[in-house]
Amino acid sequence: MTRYALRRLGQSAVTLVLVSIVVFLGVRAMPGDTARALAGEETNPKALEAIRHQYGLDQNIAVQYGRYVEQAVTGDLGTSARTGLPVVDAIFEALPVTLELALLSLLLAVVVGIGAGVVAAVRRGRPAEWFANTLALLGLSVPNFWLGIVLILGFAIAVPVFAASGFVPFGTDPLENLRRMVLPVVVLGSGLAAIVMRQTRAAMLESLSADYVRTARAKGLAPHQVVGGHALRNSLVTVVTVLGLQLGHLISGAVVTEQIFVLPGFGKLMIDAVFTRDYAMVQGVVLFTAAGYILVNLAVDLLYSVIDPRIRLGGAP
């Protein structure tokens, strides 16, 4: 187990380095002059040259990358060319917002998705399944932007139960924090809940027709024990895999939700940085997102062994 974890950590480090190179080159391959984007309407050539010099853009790409890595290993991801504020500070201000949004959305998806998936499988061919399937279809097909606007109009303006935008840290005011997070979480979590529901339903249907479930029933176990203790536990392997992959998507894919609800999170930070050609910010945000993906996938790999004892890690028989 330890050897496997170390090996996976090593692979993760290599992946991070590769990601940093790809992002570094990718950002610079974007059309549009950074100095021009920063200078706005001003086109004084001297000012443009000075901007290029200030951010090292007048040096060759290898030197720029070397300087970036040198700073990054000391925890300095540079300063935003747009605002002049340190990138690390911006990331650590945005990270808790996106993490909370992602985790609450995941929680919603797990509760609603697994619950609806189990009900749809157990009540196959009945109205409960049709209802769950309809919800899943809506969750998958309704665009986040549209759903967000409609929820704001309904629940922040017509009946002002929740806030239309903004973020209050949980530590400052837990109730206000939740009041502001409900709508974004519903928007971001609804799509994932639909995916989880469909995965759970499919896996449960397979499990419910398996021999061990028939055996459990024959032994006289109560229906909830058969479903919860046997069928669902086995089905969760597939579901957890999906959740692990989707958590990464939630972190990086919160862009639209954060834009609608004006949450100062990662997605918003990223999109603003891309449009203003803020290289340092884009690189920093992507590195953090990549690290998030890698860590979550590592955690999922390790979680497999806990859920399914048949899986052996590190090549052990």
Binding site: G32, D33, A47, G84, F155, A164, S165, V262, D272
Partner: protein, 568 residues
């Protein structure tokens, strides 16, 4: 004044009390879900924007927090480096200038004690500095502070103000609160520049302490002072007790939040999470006009929007114009035909719901030196005749580069359809805006849709764009007469003479048909009706110095004050 918006429509009134709140919300949501994307935009008497409205004279009470929703995140809060309109709006609350403008775009002293004394044939300008003012860090405002700031604006290598102050040879504090500027040559646009960011004065103590990091700790003279900034989210300013006119400042705090989408900005106004929406687009303004809790301010802008035709930009900006191979570049008659195929009024009506103004010159009529012009109408017969005279038999191919925003795409499609009637085959090239600018600067375009936010002095709208070696001469226009008139405009002091000169320059530029002016935007700012004392002039800045919550008015429930205090 604007007509009052109509009362709420059916379905928006009171609901029976028996229906629980959540059920009501669900019902409203369901109805909106069906209607939100299907509603067509219809102009009715309730959505007519009416005449110009720049001020609100209602008295405001003291206290409260005002949240302003900006269209984009401001850049560096450093007057020497800042280059965005949204940044200027923030500066308007915290960084005063030597001069400011009024509702008629006239220049008035702000941190200067009076209008400047000009002598030596326009080469010597003396500015007396206001007495008794202090920066937000307590440092007194004096002539030395003005000298330090002006030198920084001019000499800092990456300064975005250096070209504006380039004609200034020397800057000296001469004692007695006076600053003397010596110019290389007479330069009339200087006063206009000093009424913008080039005239902002920064605390010398803060400049010394923070140097290049001034943007993270800005300190100026203004009604509000910088408190905090969270990247991409908000900038918080608080009332500055050091401000020389603090007794007239009502608000306790001003919070600038970045809300990119116009619909979301408006939704935040309606929910009470913000009180002002900056740079509101015509469709959203029409929506706001149907809501009796909102009010709309509008002022004509000083800039213009139009098409730039590449007739000589073969080597990029700043290089001597050369030969460009395209039908439009080859023959002025083809360009004239292209211009005559366009109907400005119809473009305004179709693309902008008739809520902007047509334009056929670089100087806004609302500018102090502007003149009202009658734009040429669409003339397809003349356009076809010009094409025949130019020897064009088939359809004339034109590639039009446009930014990939919804409005620009719509504009491109309308231009495409109109020009087709005259015999042009317009191919649209949608491009992301920064990339579009890069292509335009390099001369990699045939025609491009690009505009200019505008400057107080006409020179700011003309010189860089139409002078042979102008820093923004993307069309590659090169005309001795235009160059000569531009020089005259910079040197002539008499306003009436200057007005005539700029009228002549405009005519000369229009004769080239390389810059086809189409329309002028209006500054639309939507606010909740609880906000009083706001001013929005031609420069589009939101002036909140004397704004506040209306006295005796219903605060409309949530004022934003409570929520902001806790939010981050």
């Amino acid at each position: 004044m604007l007509p009052q918006a109509s009362s709420r429509g059916p379905g928006q009134g009171e609901c029976p009390r028996r229906i629980p709140a959540l059920s009501r919300a669900a019902a409203v949501t369901a109805v909106l879900a069906l209607g939100v994307t299907g509603c067509a935009s219809l102009t009715t008497s309730a959505t007519e924007v009416g005449g110009v409205r720049m001020t609100d004279e209602r008295p405001a009470r003291d206290g409260g927090t005002l949240t302003v929703a900006l269209k984009s995140d401001p850049d560096k809060l450093d007057p020497s480096l800042g280059s965005t309109l949204v940044g200027r709006s923030v500066f308007a609350s915290m960084c005063q200038k030597l001069y400011d403008t009024d509702a008629r775009n006239r220049i008035r002293p702000q941190l200067a004690a009076g209008m400047p004394e000009v002598s030596d044939g326009g080469r010597k300008v003396v500015i007396e500095v206001r007495r008794g003012a202090r920066f937000s860090d307590g440092t007194p405002l004096n002539a030395e502070a003005v000298e330090t700031s002006l030198r920084r604006h001019r000499d800092l290598p990456e300064s975005a103000r250096s070209s504006e102050l380039e004609p200034v040879k020397s800057i000296e504090a001469t004692g007695g609160d006076k600053v003397e500027l010596r110019l290389k040559e007479p330069y009339e646009p200087l006063l206009g520049a000093l009424a913008d960011r080039s005239g902002m004065v920064m605390s010398p103590r803060a400049l010394k302490k923070y140097g290049e990091d001034f943007a993270t700790h800005p300190s100026c003279v203004g009604p509000f002072r910088f408190k905090e900034r969270v990247t991409g989210d908000r900038i918080v300013l608080e009332k500055d007790p050091n401000y020389y006119d603090a007794s007239r400042v009502h608000l306790r705090k001003v919070v600038y939040r970045t809300i990119v989408d116009g619909n979301v900005r408006l939704a935040n106004l309606r929910s009470g999470d913000a009180q002002i929406s900056d740079q509101t687009a015509p469709l959203e303004v029409q929506s706001a006009l149907t809501d009796d809790t909102l009010q709309v301010f509008n002022s004509p802008t000083l800039g213009y929007q139009g098409l730039t035709v590449n007739i000589g930009n073969s080597r990029g900006l700043g290089k001597k114009p050369g030969k460009v191979n395209s039908s439009l570049a080859r023959d002025g008659r083809i360009r004239e035909a292209f211009a005559l195929s366009l109907d400005r009024a119809l473009i305004n009506k179709i693309v902008f719901q008739g809520m902007y103004d047509t334009a056929c010159g670089p100087v806004a009529p609302s500018s102090e030196l502007g003149t009202k012009m009658r734009c040429p109408g669409r003339d397809l017969g003349r356009a076809r005749q010009l094409l025949r005279e130019a020897g064009e038999k088939g359809r004339v191919p034109v590639e039009l580069t446009i930014s990939n925003t919804v409005e620009d795409m719509r504009l491109g499609q309308v231009v495409q359809a109109m020009a087709k009637d005259a015999g042009f085959q317009v191919k649209l090239r949608p491009t992301e805006f920064t990339t579009l600018l890069e292509h335009a600067d390099k001369g990699d375009f045939e025609a491009v849709s690009v505009g200019w936010s505008g400057r107080l002095d006409p020179a700011g709208n003309i010189d860089a764009f139409a002078a042979t070696l102008g820093s923004e001469n993307r069309s590659g226009i090169s005309d001795e007469r235009i160059d000569s008139l531009i020089e005259d405009g910079r040197r002539t002091a008499d306003p009436d003479e200057r007005r005539e000169i700029y009228r002549d320059v405009t005519a000369a530029i229009n004769d080239e048909h390389a810059l086809i002016y189409l329309y002028r935007q209006r500054n639309y700012v939507v606010t909740t009706k609880e906000i009083a004392g706001l001013r929005v002039y031609g420069d589009g800045l939101i002036r909140v110095e004397n704004a506040g919550y209306a006295r005796g008015g219903d605060a409309g429930g949530k004022t934003g004050a409570d929520t902001e205090a806790r939010s981050r």
